[in-house]
């Protein structure tokens, strides 16, 4: 071709972009399988043929009927498909009667007599068949058969349930959720063997088609609440849901609040406990985190340990946790306001010591504290991202050496370092990471207010925070309940952890239908005198 002719060649118009398969699928919406394998395969080829891992395996059933299986190579368990699909179908005894079989009769023979895999679905709509193939199932087309036989031989790599990193317990179950929804449901069903346990499945995400399971106990939780959860989930129209956290942000009540309004957990026992309290658990495929709604603030400093330990110890430990929580929020700001505005509050000896420590520090207290706080946050974030082996070394370098040298360099006073360290440790004592992070952020706000207005600013900030929490709701449940609005039954499990026999009702803020935890009279029976069989005072014949 000469240059001339190339110039003269008419420009071709914009190349027509081929439609993506999901758009093509819409065109074939009404397409049904009509017993023609070739035709069906052509459609499959057109839709999915671009994928190099699509396998179409031709074979013959009863030596007479042409058949084909379509599946994706790596997601299907090879052993299962060999043993449970191809072998029985190809091994079917040929006979004259079988050769004449068509339509429904043929399908019944195949499904009821030959195929001995347990999970088999029958489909007519091609659109459904394609969705199944995408899901990892194997679609078997048999010439003359009236339906497509879809066999679930999927195998996805998964890990075994192990102790969750984020919620470790001293005493309690050691298993945690994994990524597979099926495993997680198993873990729940294994712990909650009542017919009242209900699971509603739905798929969320236009492209990811993520399975989401809404679990609740019927007869406990108000049906309206279940409906609301389902409604909120149905409203999510997003391309993909990769984690429960994504769902959480779509269904929470107040999107502007720093406080989490949905609890998440990796522990099946915690989920079951929540279900028994009348809450709803949302499991998402592909993540070990479950969501628990409705959530109130007290939940974020409760742990599973609280219930397995005896009540007095558990109450004390919970109190310690609460104190740590409050410390991590207000400690730096109170320090700043006392040092900068009201040094007369603290005993004179101590005030002198503090002043001596601060003698060489060139900054105002608020700047000093803020700088130290920010470097602590940086350190924390850095150790979080590092591989574990390096992380330990870095945290030692960070905490010990930087802290020590900051003091030696006259950059920060020793008391400031102590305060920041205590604050940071306090924030680690909060079991729920997302609640701890909220308080961490609010701590900065309080510190800045303290820098401006001293104690007055701190209290104004605290009032602002508590007002916000008091007006917050999670699925209509007041966030600070059962403290406000006050509820005696709920209070038994809020600041303290009352003896189990005394908490005979479920938390009333959730308004469960069946509110009794303990059978009537059970507590009285429990507390009445035991017979003390081996009491040495007792005559031997009575033992």
């Amino acid at each position: 071709m000469t240059l001339w002719s190339r110039w003269m060649k008419p420009k071709s118009g914009p190349r027509k972009q081929p439609l993506p398969p999901d758009k093509v699928l819409q065109e074939y919406k009404s397409q049904k399988f009509d017993g023609h394998v070739k035709k069906a395969l052509r459609l499959i080829e057109e839709m999915l043929g671009e994928n190099d891992d699509l396998v179409i395996r031709d074979f013959r059933v009863c030596q007479t009927h042409d058949a084909a299986a379509a599946y994706f190579a790596n997601i299907v368990n090879r052993d299962t498909s060999n043993e449970n699909i191809f072998r029985p179908l190809m091994d079917m005894k040929p006979s004259a009667a079988r050769a004449r079989l068509r339509g429904r009769a043929l399908r019944e023979v195949i499904v009821k007599e030959a195929l001995h895999h347990e999970e088999v679905y029958l489909r007519t709509d091609m659109i459904e068949v394609i969705e199944d193939i995408m899901h990892g199932h194997t679609a078997v087309f048999v010439e003359g058969c009236d339906k497509v036989i879809v066999v679930d031989a999927r195998m996805v790599p998964h890990r075994t349930p192990e102790q969750p990193y984020t919620e470790q317990v001293i005493r309690g179950a050691r298993d945690g959720f994994v990524e597979q929804l099926s495993t997680n449901i198993t873990l729940l069903r294994y712990r909650l063997q009542t017919p009242n346990f209900r699971i509603k499945m739905m798929k969320i995400g236009r492209l990811s088609r993520t399975k989401v399971a809404v679990c609740y106990v019927e007869g406990l939780v108000r049906p309206a609440l279940v409906q609301e959860v389902l409604d909120r989930l149905k409203m999510i129209h997003v391309d993909g849901v990769l984690d429960a956290g994504t769902l959480e942000q779509f269904i929470e009540d107040n999107h502007w609040s720093p406080f989490p309004q949905v609890q998440n957990s990796e522990r099946p026992d915690k989920c079951v406990a929540s279900l028994l309290e009348g809450r709803i658990v949302i499991l998402t495929d592909g993540t070990p985190f479950s969501l628990i709604v409705p959530a109130v603030f007290v939940q974020f400093y409760q742990t599973m340990d609280d219930y397995s330990e005896r009540w007095l110890m558990a109450s004390l430990v919970r109190l310690v946790r609460l104190v740590a929580l409050i410390f991590s929020l207000v400690f730096p700001s109170i320090y700043v306001s006392i040092i900068a505005f009201n040094p007369e509050l603290i005993p004179t000896n101590f005030a002198v010591a503090v002043a001596g420590g601060r003698a060489g520090v060139p900054f105002p207290a608020v700047v000093e504290v803020l700088v130290m706080e920010i470097s602590m946050e940086v350190l924390r974030e850095a150790t979080l991202r590092l591989p574990q082996q390096v992380g330990g070394a870095l945290s030692i370098v960070g905490v010990l050496i930087v802290g020590q040298s900051a003091v030696a360099a006259g950059f920060a006073s020793p008391i400031t370092v102590v305060i920041i360290a205590l604050t940071t440790i306090g924030s680690f004592a909060t079991p729920a990471y997302n609640a701890a992070i909220a308080l961490r952020i609010l701590r900065f706000v309080l510190t800045i207010l303290a820098g401006f207005f001293g104690l007055y600013g701190v209290v104004v900030g605290l009032i602002l925070i508590s007002n916000h929490m008091l007006s917050l709701r999670s699925f209509g449940v007041p966030y600070l309940s059962p403290v406000v609005p006050m509820n005696m039954q709920g209070l038994k499990d809020a600041l303290m952890r009352a003896p189990l026999w005394w908490m005979w009702r479920r938390p009333q803020q959730l308004d469960p239908i069946d509110s009794r935890r303990l059978a009537p009279g059970a507590a009285r029976k429990l507390l009445s005198q035991n017979s003390n069989t081996l009491d040495p005072v007792k005559p031997r014949r009575l033992r």
């Binding site: 603290i346 005993p347 004179t348 401006f452 207005f453 104690l455 008091l470 609005p485």
Partner: protein, 376 residues
């Protein structure tokens, strides 16, 4: 006219909390001085009389509420004395509560400026306080009740602790004679004490939201007992500690009492700054109530569906009013003047309404709908 329907949800306990929260406030800081100036050592007795006057006002509101369990005071007024007179009164009430909020904020920030933040401009602290109140006024009545309930411990613990600890230095002969030396001006003093408690007018807006409006007398009783004992405790303790002559020289005797008090354990050397910090909560509870009443009154008069936006709309006016008095003397003069007028409004108006309603025989239809109108 369509109102958002809300369920009755305020419990008796929350109502008591609202009543108490509305009455604690900045006034307590100066209360002993005001009482002593009026009645010398008769101050406790005078306080008691003032409390009785307040409770009488609250009783009037309760009686009115019994007659109109589904209406706020403003709406009940419209039914009793007609639309426009009642609206006029509503406007007066609104202006009164706006001014009360403004002066309350100013009084508190003056105390703050004198006691802990001498170099911070009063404008800044006042603005912060008003912003805090305004951001909370946006909430609905339920959250209002929750917030008031939540702060009760922060009101009670210091107000029982400080006077009790201060009693260590008390000379009880300072309390005698019980009826005071010489003449005094008892009526004015009573009015001043009662004027500190005008937040109690909020009860008139509470009724339509209460689950059991029948139990209002209980609210009155418990609220009266708690408020009365704390007020009396403060007056008696400061009178016993300082004596009547010294108190006249102290601007805020309660604060001085905190200054001389020491917590056992000696963790804190002085308590005044800490007391004032905790007292921000009480000041907030009082301001929140008056601010809330102001916006509710305006909402009722103008027939708004929601009062939320009023909170920011009123803020500039309240702030300007708060900045008007040039110094603390003027603040107290204005407060005294405003308090007297306020008594006419918060006690006189319900009295007139009741009398007219009784004479005309106006009353609510029997029975309570579960969905109360309104307000909230």
């Amino acid at each position: 006219m369509i109102h958002k329907t809300v369920y009755r949800h305020i419990t008796v306990m929350e109502a008591v909390a609202i009543f108490i929260g509305s009455s604690f406030g900045i006034g307590i800081l100066a209360l002993p001085r005001m009482a002593v100036e009026a009645a010398d050592t008769g101050a406790p007795l005078l306080t008691l009389c003032g409390l009785c006057l307040t409770l009488f006002g609250a009783l009037l509101i309760t009686l009115l509420a019994r007659r109109f369990p589904n209406d706020t005071v403003v709406r009940a007024g419209e039914r009793v004395i007609g639309k426009w007179p009642a609206r006029l009164m509503g406007v007066c009430l609104a202006v009164f509560f706006i001014l009360l909020t403004a002066l309350g904020a100013r009084e508190f920030t003056t105390v703050v400026a004198v006691a802990v933040l001498p170099r911070t401009p009063v404008e800044a602290t006042t603005l912060v306080m008003l912003l805090l109140a305004a951001s909370s006024v946006r909430n609905n009545f339920t959250s209002f009740a929750y917030i008031q309930l939540f702060y009760q411990p922060f009101l009670f613990i210091p107000s029982v602790l400080i006077p009790t600890l201060a009693l260590k230095n008390a000379i009880f002969t300072n309390l005698l004679p019980l009826w005071g030396n010489g003449e005094g001006h008892w009526w004015a003093g009573m009015a001043s004490v009662a004027a500190l408690l005008q937040g109690g007018f909020v009860l008139g807006f509470l009724v339509p939201a209460m689950i059991e409006p029948r139990r209002m007398p209980q609210v009155l009783l418990w609220g009266g007992i708690f408020i009365g004992s704390v007020y009396l405790l403060f007056v008696i303790a400061s009178l016993a500690v300082f004596g009547s002559m010294e108190i006249r020289n102290l601007m805020w005797p309660t604060l001085e009492m905190a200054k001389i008090t020491m917590l056992p354990g000696e963790v804190l050397e002085r308590l005044d700054a800490a007391f004032l910090a905790i007292w921000v909560t009480a000041a907030f509870a009082g301001l929140y109530t008056t601010y809330f009443i102001a916006s509710l009154v305006i909402k009722d008069v103008l027939r708004f569906e929601d009062h939320a936006f009023l909170s920011w709309a009123l803020l500039p006016f309240i702030f300007m009013a708060a900045m008007l008095p040039p110094n603390v003397v003027q603040v107290y003069r204005a407060m005294e003047w405003l308090g007297r007028i306020g008594l006419v409004l918060t006690i006189g108006y319900p009295l007139i309404l009741l009398a007219v309603a009784w004479m005309r025989g106006v009353r609510e239809e029997r029975g309570l709908p579960e969905q109360a109108d309104s307000t909230l």
